[in-house]
Amino acid sequence: MQAALFYIFAALALVCGFLVVANPFSRNPVTSAMFLVLTIVWLAGLFVLLHAFFLGAVQILIYAGAVMVLFLFVIMLLDLREEERRRFRLPGLLGGGAVAVALALLLRAAIRDGVPPEPAVTGLEGATEPLGRLLFTRYLLPFEVVSVLLVVAMVGVVLLSKKELK
């Protein structure tokens, strides 16, 4: 059962991921965004399979919910359709593809070589409470740094979006 779900979710995530990147039918950014949402959802499924329930929820809520909405909002705001009329250049295509494939092969080889022997799957539960405990004890410092980062993001967005002053 678990295995089947893994394969299903994984396959769907990969297919949707592929469609984000290279949809043969549409080069509309909106399509990409929609498939990205789907990818994120399937990934959330995988998270659940891995007993990371809290993160699964976060994935859906924050990523699919907040972030992607932001994307769609911007796409709509800017009304981007132009990419459709541009053709891909072959050297770029080949180069990019080759690099990606080479990286995939390298990673595959590394993974085959380097995965540690399978430990007994512990009863680790990605529940909210242990995660939160960890976050506010050991990881307090990065957490606080991230909060500064969020301030920066806020200030930055405000600055960048201000009407230009002449």
Partner: protein, 101 residues
């Protein structure tokens, strides 16, 4: 066959490479940015899987940070792209070649 860490890592690697492909091939800044999100998600998957198979929660905490940072980054990035579009009326990388050589 029960999927092990290796399986998850392979999926994550493939996703990462897909994201990279998108960054390298798509011309629209927004799509490129989405591809980058895909790459981050691939990393998240690897972290969660590793967390599961090593029995420690650190990986999941890390994912939490990645998601948060990504959100902040997206916010700033999109604001930047919008500002750029307002100024240049384009979101295509090929139009952004004033700075070169």
């Amino acid at each position: 066959m029960t999927p092990g860490l290796e399986h998850y890592l392979v999926v994550s690697a493939l996703l990462f490479c897909l994201g990279l492909t998108g960054v390298l091939l798509r011309r629209n800044l927004l799509v490129i940015y989405m591809s980058l999100e895909l790459m981050l998600n691939a990393a998240n998957l690897a972290l969660v899987a590793a967390s599961r198979f090593t029995g420690k929660l650190d990986g999941q905490v890390m994912v939490f940070f990645v998601v948060t940072v990504a959100a902040a980054e997206v916010a700033v990035g999109l604001a930047l792209i919008v500002a750029l579009y307002r100024r240049r009326a384009t979101a295509h990388v090929e139009d952004l070649t004033t700075l070169k050589l």
